[in-house]
């Protein structure tokens, strides 16, 4: 039996409410608002209360997909990563760094946003990086 409550931050809007994810034997089973959060003080909205429900949805992507003969087909991580890196390189070599563009995400972490724009700027060599701030 492994029962834990893990303090984290909501992903369903910009308020940034804090709650505990209730985890039983590796499955997230509930959300409990954090009483001592300076933002939500033990309260949540309907999106917060139910945020745990999508995490283990059957529709989650669980394996990389590569388009083969027009169809998205499950492949190994190695194949997907090699393909991506190789094609990015080929396109950069053929058309220059500014022929590639990158949409980073208002949903992933700061660390991931930092890394992604660093990849665009330092590895690819373009400032073509944006996200949906305006949407």
């Amino acid at each position: 039996m492994d029962y834990r409550t893990v303090l984290t931050t909501c992903t369903h809007c910009g308020c940034g409410c804090n709650f505990y994810l209730e985890v039983l034997d590796g499955r997230v089973i509930g959300t409990i608002p954090c009483k001592t959060s300076p933002i939500n003080e033990g309260k949540l909205c309907i999106k917060g209360w139910n945020v745990h429900e999508f995490i283990q949805s059957k529709k989650r992507l669980t394996q990389p997909l590569l388009r083969k003969n027009g169809e998205l087909t499950e492949v190994s991580w190695d194949e997907a990563l090699d393909f991506t890196a190789r094609r990015l390189k080929e396109i950069k070599d053929a058309h220059g760094a500014d022929s590639l563009a990158f949409l980073t995400s208002a949903r992933v972490t700061n660390e991931e946003n930092y890394l992604f724009q660093k990849f665009c700027r330092a590895a690819i060599g373009t400032n073509n990086v944006d996200h949906c701030a305006r949407l």
């Binding site: 029962y3 001592t36 309260k43 209360w49």
Partner: protein, 266 residues
Amino acid sequence: MSEQVKNRVKELLSSGKIKGFLGLCSRNGHIAPHLFVNADDLDNLVVGDKLAAGDSRYPLNRQLINLVRAYPDETFGILVRGCDERGLTALASWNQVDPNKIEMVGIACPRELALACECLKPYPESFVDGEKCEGVSPESVARIDTLQVKERFDHWYHEFSKCIKCYGCRDICPMCFCNECSLENNELIRTGEIPPEIPTFHLTRAVHMAGRCIDCGLCSEACPADIPLRTLYKKVADIIDKQYGFRTGYDGAQKSPLNFLGGLPE
């Protein structure tokens, strides 16, 4: 913080009497609901007062139901105040928990908290920490009772008009264990609108709480619109008390007069 609570939990865990203890833990700079499983790992156990008494109470009974549903053969310990104990008593009478598989470690609430809660019984039957203080009669209910009908209506209309339909009052409630909820029934209350229909949504829930609410107040604390739900449910509890001489969770042998699930009341 509370050596008595800590010692009792240590004893229960090290004797193997309980599989785990649901209590509160100081971690990540907050007070968290936590399952302690190791008798040697109780350093951060607290009773839930961060800045003020009882300011970080959590729906431990609700979490306990999750645990016992997954592990029906295990015995668990749990931190209880007066309200939590009433909750477990009532949950046992509704066959949601087996009282023989629960070890309650009680704390009596300080006067400050009893006053804030207007709690009729701010202590559990047996407790290992705190001092028993007298019950407090609910002034908040009396205040609203003195209003004229029109003023009373306006008061609640204004409060309900702030509702953002988070369902937090239900989702935090240790007594809400139904598999289907009438609040989500589109025939009864139109889905997809905020505020939800006034006063249907809140009165449906208030009626549902009759004979069920144990007056823990977690609903009011969880309400993003600061609707004084607790006052509403206190009033409902008063009516049930007057009509049937019943208060939820005080006497385990007595069934709720509105106990449809367990057959007709005697």
